[in-house]
Symmetry: C2
Subunit: 350 residues, 2 copies
């Protein structure tokens, strides 16, 4: 069965990547319609050998779809998604609009695919840094039982969209005004410890997403997470320094084998490591510099890098659709990179 797919925010950085991925992964597309704001309406976007005309987003147009991907901001999702979902369309939302709602599954297919069983046509795609971090932690959690973790990020400018890339390119040419406006400070030659907005407790929205979304995805409501999120002058792919403490005795050799054999991550042994440049446009999260932590008795430290536009956003959203299709018909030819790990997602204790 060919799928009727719509993409809202199709000209943005995540929407564009999603179109590329749908073509790359051989998704069986019957209809592909692209929506954006008025100023992008009429643009022609290549899809395989065709050109698809971008339509101005209007509520009445969001009918006759199997899946709608929302790749715009929270406001657009809040305005347009509920009606489409109520009309029976399965909506996969990249924004943070519905992530904290108990009746909306927040899903990383390789981790908590079971959460999809209860969806009511609204599925939230988690925060990019959180997805990338958990892709590395989860296989070790299954083996050793996660107790707490700390994530310190090095996030690329494209996290804010195409404008971040334009701002950094202008800064390279000596004009810092646009980057100062977007990031609150010059981004070239700098590290800015503010991603998102500040809350009263001194944490930023990005840091609180790492805490709250990790708890939901792992099904671990009292998990302790410490996070510092920092923007650096990288164009694409987020790097994250992770320390994890486990319930059970951490064995480095076992952990190395687990990550090496895990088909969802690329493991870098010895003194090799992934980096933002190296991971750009790659599907898998890279994990390197795995070592015994000097802080905790059962701790591990590692360096985790992922393309936040692919696995951190567009790819994860598309995998959610692939998983739903797979669950409908186990013989579907859609290329799946998921496994059901429901039985393993509960921590051993705590």
């Amino acid at each position: 069965m060919k799928l009727r797919i719509g993409i809202v925010g199709a000209t943005g950085i995540v929407g564009s990547e999603l179109i590329t991925l749908i073509a790359e992964r051989g998704t069986p597309v019957g209809t592909l319609r692209l929506f954006a704001s008025e100023k992008s309406g009429g643009k022609k976007v290549p899809f395989g050998e065709d050109l698809v005309i971008v339509e101005k987003l209007e509520s009445r147009k969001l009918t006759n779809f199997d899946y709608l991907f929302f790749c715009s901001n929270e406001g657009v999702s809040r305005e347009f998604l509920p009606t489409a979902a109520a009309n029976g369309i399965c909506c996969i939302d990249n924004s943070a609009a519905f992530r904290e709602r108990g009746d909306v599954p927040l899903v990383v297919p390789e981790i908590n695919s079971h959460a999809l069983a209860e969806h009511k046509n609204v599925i939230a795609n988690p925060n990019c840094s959180t997805i990338i971090t958990l892709m590395a932690i989860f296989p070790l959690h299954v083996a050793f039982g996660l107790k707490k973790f700390c994530a310190t990020t090095y996030q690329a400018v494209s996290g804010v969209g195409c404008s971040g890339i334009e701002a950094l390119n202008r800064a390279i040419d000596g004009n810092h005004a646009m980057s100062e406006e977007i990031f609150g400070e010059q981004i070239l030659f700098n590290a800015v410890p503010k991603v998102g907005k500040f809350f009263a407790n001194g944490y930023t929205s990005e840091e609180m997403k790492m805490l709250n979304e990790s708890r939901r995805i792992l099904g671990f409501p009292d998990l302790r997470v410490s996070s510092t999120c920092v923007r650096i002058p990288a164009m694409r792919a987020h790097s994250i320094s992770v320390i994890a403490e486990f319930e059970r005795s951490f064995d480095l050799c076992v952990a190395q084998r687990i990550l090496r054999e895990n088909e969802h991550v690329d493991y870098f042994p010895g003194t090799s490591f992934p980096s933002a440049i190296e991971r750009t446009k790659k599907d898998r999260v890279g994990v390197g510099r795995l070592r015994v932590d000097t802080f905790f008795d059962n701790g591990a430290t590692m360096w985790v890098v992922g393309d936040q536009i692919r696995k951190g956003a567009a790819l994860n959203a598309l995998q959610i659709m692939e998983l739903l299709e797979f669950q409908k018909c186990k013989s579907t030819p859609i290329p799946l990179v998921v496994q059901d790990v429901r039985a393993k997602t509960m921590p051993s204790s705590g």
Copy 2:
């Protein structure tokens, strides 16, 4: 009494900064002689209103000094320092050559000035990231009793010297060869989790310095430190995300007051924070984003930034000399930014 001062490695990034600081701080200089490798011999370097000719480094020239500052690499310090020290000259070494020797004090004047009492003409200046990190942790350690800490760094390219700045400038012009050679990977638009060389335990030399030197400076031989050191495309000033766990109950309001009132750091309240661009060429370490950690029961998280060429190297070395002169004659007019905190440097327990 005017001082006879020599600088070995005077044309490097730390040596040049030291010359600037000696002029800026009104150090009472009788003689200033500058030494460098043969290729810099004969260069003229401005000092106040004079020009000082750089001499080719030779062992026989290192006599008739009160202080010699070694601002070159470990090899140069190992070759030339011991003879000068044996001849009665007080040698302050910026390299890592003697930092682990039990009979060589490793000193941050604001933290462990008492260690100078036992010096035998060789004093080691600590690693730059370690100095900057401890400047923020120490006042809180005095109040709450440090138990362990975690430091995740964002280090500038000038940490390797002038060549790091040249390499990043070339990369901006599209030529990545020099930065790839120095940093092992493209540095522009990237974060490279390797500073120094790898050890068998998976940690780098920079990370092990953070552990070993912190233990020596704080007089805390079993302190637990977790560190991940990362090079980013910043020109100057190292940023460090720090989590500290304390023995005693951590009170945020008390901690804010302690840092605000501490004359050795610049405290950034609320949602303000220091950054690499903002701290460049500033003497003081900046501390911001202080908040209660979500990881530990008595933990604090903060964002610490310091100019690694000033407080991380040249300034700290010069302060060591100022402190020694101050201890000789309490009425010296040398501008001091030090305090004796000997009684407070032992942890409350652990």
